[in-house]
């Protein structure tokens, strides 16, 4: 019975992925990609990885999908959404064969992989000392904290890169395109109703991340989405690059993380070492700052560089 479910799910995932690549039109590809992300998050649940399922649904399907859709909107506005005619099948045959070869090689590798002892025995002894119950959060924020710290900075690097794509004459304008909302309309009401619940859900995801699936990235994404809805509903006006408070919000998470790491190094415990008795609370503090920064960074990434001047 479960095998039938898995088979159906995998077949659906592959069909939607093929539709994404082969189907006509960019818009269709984007919509299929969002469906693909949602199906994939079901697959993650099947693989017993609920934390990943949440991340995939929120970030992979949700946020990435919104990014694609808003980019598509901007491209349509300048008449660059249509696709040029694709190359003929004959021209693409070598590429198709090479890609099939890659898939074949990976499939072969799966059957050739030795099965190592896992989870590593060292992990079992380390987990009780992590100061946190959820093993995935323990790996992210304690064992492999250096990865996570760099990752939060990767997010920031992407945002600065996106900001650099603003036109010079727009630099001091507000982020993104202005939204026109009818006061008292559907969107305005939705924007008023959703944020209280959304904030609750976001905070809850972070809070339960300590001992059950959830965490800073998943919660931060929900909070970013709440901010975006509020901006779409005209409740919040996107800020400008010159507003220092927001820029401080962007760096707060990585900075607190780094400072916690340095304090450990100075006190002699070691870089990014969280001594066992205080590990839980230290992770809590880091996580709060991280969530704030992730939410602000993600929301700004979606809104895009400043460009409101030309439309107002």
């Amino acid at each position: 019975m479960t095998l039938v479910l898995d088979l159906t799910l995998c077949a659906l995932i592959l069909a939607v992925a093929l539709a994404t690549v082969l189907g006509g039109g960019v818009f269709r590809a984007i919509v299929f990609f969002i469906v693909y992300g949602l199906l994939l998050s079901v697959a993650w649940v099947r693989l017993d990885a609920v934390d990943v399922a949440l991340a995939e649904a929120a970030i992979g399907a949700g946020l990435t999908g919104v990014l694609f859709l808003s980019a598509f909107g901007k491209l349509s506005r300048i008449g660059a959404e249509a696709e040029p005619p694709a190359a003929g099948i004959r021209a693409l045959l070598p590429a198709a064969l090479a890609c099939a070869g890659l898939t074949g090689a990976l499939a072969w590798a799966w059957f050739a992989l030795p099965v190592p002892e896992r989870p590593a025995p060292d992990l079992a002894t380390a987990l009780p000392r992590a100061g946190i119950e959820n093993p995935v959060t323990a790996v992210l924020l304690n064992f492999r904290a250096w990865d996570t710290l760099l990752e939060s900075i990767v997010l920031l690097a992407a945002l600065i890169g996106v900001w650099m794509l603003a036109r010079d004459e727009d630099w001091h304008d507000r982020f993104g395109l202005p939204q026109h909302v009818r006061p008292g309309g559907v969107m305005a009401n939705f924007g008023r109703l959703l944020p209280p619940v959304g904030v609750l859900v976001g905070v809850y995801l972070v809070y339960v991340g300590a001992d059950r699936p959830g965490g800073a990235f998943q919660g931060g994404t929900v909070l970013a989405a709440v901010g975006l809805v509020a901006a779409l509903a005209g409740l919040l006006r996107p800020p400008r690059v010159t507003q220092i408070v927001w820029r401080m919000g962007l760096v707060a998470g990585p900075l607190v993380f780094l400072i916690a790491g340095i304090v450990g190094a100075i006190l002699g415990a070691g870089f990014l070492t969280l001594p066992e008795p205080i590990a839980g609370s230290a992770i809590f503090v880091i996580e709060i700052a991280l969530v704030a920064s992730i939410a602000v960074t993600l929301a700004f990434l979606v809104i895009g560089p400043p460009e409101q001047g030309h439309r107002e």
Partner: protein, 94 residues
């Protein structure tokens, strides 16, 4: 008993989903398609939530299930309104 209720309600829910999907595929224009999708699917989701609620171990889970349903109603309603308005504007050539 609980299992029986789950089977019954999820089946009803699935029926509405199928009906909604058929409507989505068969109806001629945006408005009637939206009508099929939002109404039938929201109802279907409600029944599925009800069905799963019989399997829940605590009232907390039941509350969460219906919170999800409520949020879906809110989102689906808003989105269909927005899509409909956009389609209307396009039809009127504005």
């Amino acid at each position: 008993m609980n299992d029986l209720a789950t089977y019954a309600f999820t089946s009803i829910g699935l029926f509405f989903f199928v009906a909604g999907s058929v409507g989505f595929l068969r109806f001629p224009d945006v408005f009637s398609r939206l009508h099929a999708l939002t109404k039938a699917d929201n109802l279907g989701l409600g029944f599925i939530a009800l069905g799963i609620a019989f399997q829940a171990e605590s009232w907390r889970l039941v509350a969460l299930l219906f919170l999800i349903w409520g949020l879906m109603l809110l989102a689906a309603g808003t989105m269909s309104q927005l899509i409909a308005r956009d389609a209307l504007r396009e039809r009127d050539g504005r």
